[in-house]
């Protein structure tokens, strides 16, 4: 298409990939942490809760900087991961990591809220029928939490599509590798006359996020209908 240049299409594809991975990879730990916060009592629970919210509280630049310090090739975790072949620094995986971490609080909150709304009496019913805690979680709690998971996922996806500050600070803005849509938009906005180009990218970004939003609405309505019975 002539709407966007090849480099811009690259940014679109990369943003999609980053947002999808940020969301999907965030789900398992997100569900775990949400469950822990909703249902368990353990020392350090408030610390965990605080940590989860940190990316929300900190200016994104700070989060990006902290990521650079820890997951950069010279950072303590980054160096260790590099040994086993996992690289985040200046790689699209790093953009996904940054987006995932920025989106994590949103994911966790939504899922946690949904888990808290699951009637514990249904979980008890599962237990009396022989299901262990893990099975009850998998067969009762988790399915009933689907609306929240979906809701959290779509929030996370939208956030990941829009995330910029932490990403550009952590993995820079390398076309084809770490240049996501928001970074590209940012670059356009930094120079005179870039507004029109920025606007086109904004439109693409909004279109993608809206499509995801509507898909999630349809899906969540279907889930709700199923549970209401029919």
């Amino acid at each position: 298409m002539s709407l966007l240049g090849p480099e811009e299409w690259q940014a679109v594809a990369l943003s999609l990939r980053v947002a999808l991975w940020a969301t999907l990879a965030g789900l398992p730990p997100g569900i775990l942490v949400a469950y822990a916060l909703a249902r368990w009592e353990f020392p350090g629970k408030q610390v965990l809760n605080g940590l989860v919210h940190l990316p929300l509280i900190l200016p994104p630049v700070v989060t990006g900087y902290l990521l650079l310090l820890t997951f950069g090739t010279r950072g303590p975790i980054g160096a260790a991961l590099k040994e086993i072949g996992i690289v985040f620094a200046f790689h699209w995986t790093g953009a996904a990591l940054a987006a995932g971490i920025m989106a994590f609080p949103l994911l966790v909150r939504a899922i946690r809220l949904s888990i808290e709304a699951v009637d514990p009496r249904l979980e008890q019913a599962g237990a009396t029928l022989g299901a262990s805690k893990l099975w009850v979680f998998a067969t009762v709690t988790l399915p009933l939490t689907l609306p929240g998971i979906l809701s959290g996922a779509i929030l996370a996806f939208a956030k990941a599509m829009g995330e910029f500050g932490a990403t550009i600070t952590f993995v820079s803005n390398i076309p084809g590798q770490t240049q996501t849509l928001p970074s590209a938009i940012y670059a356009f906005l930094q120079v005179p006359g870039g507004e029109a180009s920025a606007l086109r990218l904004v439109a693409v970004s909004v279109a993608i996020a809206m499509a995801a939003l509507i898909a999630s609405e349809v899906l969540s309505r279907r889930i709700a209908k199923r549970v209401a019975g029919a």
């Binding site: 950072g75 620094a89 820079s172 803005n173 076309p175 590798q177 930094q190 120079v191 005179p192």
Partner: protein, 232 residues
Amino acid sequence: GQVTVFAAASMKTAMDEIAPLFAEATGDTAVVSLAGSSALARQIQAGAPADVFISANPGWMDALEADGLIEADSRTDLLGNSLVLIAHDPQATPIEITPTLPLSEMLGEDHLAMALVEAVPAGIYGKAALSALGLWDGVAPKVAQADNVRAALALVATGEAPFGIVYATDARAEPGVTVLGTFPKGSHAPITYPAARIRDGDSAVADAFLAFLKGPVARAAFERQGFTVLTE
């Protein structure tokens, strides 16, 4: 070969022109990562795979040099820029910027748009210039500091602030503002964009790229943007 260039975001337009020309001329490709100088410098400190760094101010280049991260020999002051006072009013008549300029009175209740005066180069230069002219104390409470020059420019362009201080390169391309005057050279440290090769980088292609930047093709591109080219 390929060269990865970390360049200040304000150079986007120029770099977008130069990179394909470089590829055409040398057969090598230049990948340009554009972000704030501070972010780029920190990334280089953290081991970013950059070969060339072009900073929007000497401060961060100095910091990298102190850390031994750049080839000191390769460092050049590539570009220069000047600082201008702009107004929203299209009918505004040019004025000379002197210590007697009644800037505070001109502002009245309104704001003077600048970049962050302690953090962002354009802001730092602007504050230095106003101080040198003895105007700073009068306008300080009325300064609206944006996080970058472009945002300061936008404030004036939308009319939110009647006046602002930005780079000449930015003011030139924005139809919504009128340049009232240029700050005298001596009122602030020279505005330079240093470029250098990163120590761990691929030296051959990087050197070629740096050379290309200093060449006539790049010079034309820079000048179209309103930069002063400092290299010969």
